[in-house]
């Protein structure tokens, strides 16, 4: 099997990583399309250097994050606060949609805390998070704790105003 064929199969198996990271960082549909292609291209360009020291999924996560955060995006996902009188989103049944809130809360973090939290939620331990971000382990741990607290606080506030 050719190197390209192997790459294509690995990417197909891990396509969720690319899709997820782009959804978290980019709102503009055109940017999303461009970035999707750019991540695939950059992953292919770097694939030759991939030695298999880490899982392919971890390596792809790293390339995707690097590509997204070094791309010249037309519109970044803003991290500004929502207004005080903001109505939290509800699901189709009219009940509060907590996973939707989680997404909104994550998107309100700064871009680096967003990386740390999503890696954590995807099951990476603090050492792996430090390796991917370049932070030292202690700093990554402290940052993760603070970011999670910020998310929980936000969710509690929204739960308080939800129907």
């Amino acid at each position: 099997m050719s190197q390209e064929q192997v790459f294509v199969q690995l990417v197909q198996r891990n396509a969720g990583i690319i899709h997820k990271v782009i959804q978290l960082y980019v709102d503009d549909p055109e940017d999303r399309r461009d970035l999707h292609q750019e991540v695939l291209l950059q992953a292919w360009k770097s694939y030759e250097a991939f030695k298999g020291d880490s899982a392919f999924s971890t390596w792809l996560y790293r390339v995707t994050l690097n590509t997204v955060l070094t791309f010249r995006r037309r519109n970044r996902v803003l991290t500004t606060e929502l207004p005080d009188q903001w109505d939290p989103p509800t699901g189709a049944s009219g009940h509060s949609d907590q996973s939707e809130w989680l997404l909104l809360a994550i998107k309100q973090l700064n871009e680096i805390d967003r990386v740390i939290v999503t890696l954590h939620l995807d099951g990476y331990d603090n050492e792996e998070i430090a390796g991917i971000t370049g932070l030292n382990k202690n700093t990554a741990t402290v940052r993760l704790h603070r970011a999670k607290q910020a998310i929980i606080q936000k969710l509690k506030t929204w739960q308080g105003v939800s129907p």
């Binding site: 390209e4 790459f7 294509v8 990417v11 197909q12 396509a15 969720g16 690319i18 899709h19 997820k20 959804q23 978290l24 461009d34 999707h36 292609q37 750019e38 695939l40 291209l41 950059q42 292919w44 360009k45 770097s46 250097a49 991939f50 390596w59 790293r62 390339v63 994050l65 690097n66 590509t67 955060l69 070094t70 791309f71 010249r72 995006r73 970044r76 907590q98 996973s99 939707e100 989680l102 997404l103 700064n110 871009e111 680096i112 805390d113 990386v115 939620l121 995807d122 390796g131 991917i132 971000t133 370049g134 932070l135 999670k148 998310i151 929980i152 969710l155 739960q159």
Partner: protein, 202 residues
């Protein structure tokens, strides 16, 4: 609320990827990059083309004016200047190529991009400040010497000196301001974005 559980739900509902067709992947890996390094490389390719054309023109003109020592001197300055420009541009191109790797850690990647892009912009502005005005000045001197004056005569004529001064004082800032404006338009927000994230990773 259990964050991990909600995250799983979120992934199933909103963040799960549609099937990625093999043809789309194969097409994407054959496209040109749209990243900032690729944009700078594209601009650099244009600069290299201009510098090469100027140099080729200079070499032809040097051969044509070989009989006149003054013209030969002017053309030697011109050729040397553009040769240095060409070597620097090739060096910068290779530097950009080397820094394009995206499988390092995030902090290293962002820092490298920030440094390399800032350097590329600074070089571009310096080149913009000198490349075109020097070509104009040397062209003006060449035309006068070719018309029969000696270099000393051209440089001691107050009218000529005035023209040269205007060329330097007007065209240099114009080219410089234009290049700065273009770079600022293309990269200032981007560099701020990089810097913010680098600071957050300290």
């Amino acid at each position: 609320m259990d964050l991990q559980q909600e995250w799983q739900l979120l992934q199933e509902k909103q963040l799960s990827a549609p099937v990625l067709p093999e043809a789309d992947i194969r097409l994407a890996i054959r496209k040109d990059s749209q990243g900032p390094i690729a944009a700078l490389q594209k601009a650099l390719r244009w600069r290299l083309l201009f510098v090469s054309l100027f140099l080729l023109f200079g070499i032809l003109l040097t051969a044509y004016s070989w009989h006149n020592p003054e013209l030969r001197l002017l053309m030697a300055v011109f050729d040397a200047y553009y040769l240095i420009g060409m070597v620097l541009s090739i060096r910068q191109f290779r530097l950009l190529q080397r820094s394009a790797s995206l499988d390092n850690n995030l902090r290293l990647t962002l820092t490298t991009y920030y440094r390399v892009i800032k350097n590329a912009i600074r070089t571009d502005e310096i080149v913009g400040l000198f490349m075109y005005p020097i070509a104009l000045v040397l062209g003006f001197l060449y035309a006068n010497v070719e018309a029969g004056d000696t270099l000393i005569q051209v440089l001691t004529n107050s009218r000529n000196l005035m023209i040269l001064l205007v060329m330097i004082l007007v065209f240099s800032p114009i080219f410089h301001i234009f290049v700065r404006w273009a770079n600022r338009k293309a990269f200032s927000t981007y560099l701020i974005q990089l810097k913010q994230n680098i600071d957050l990773l300290q």
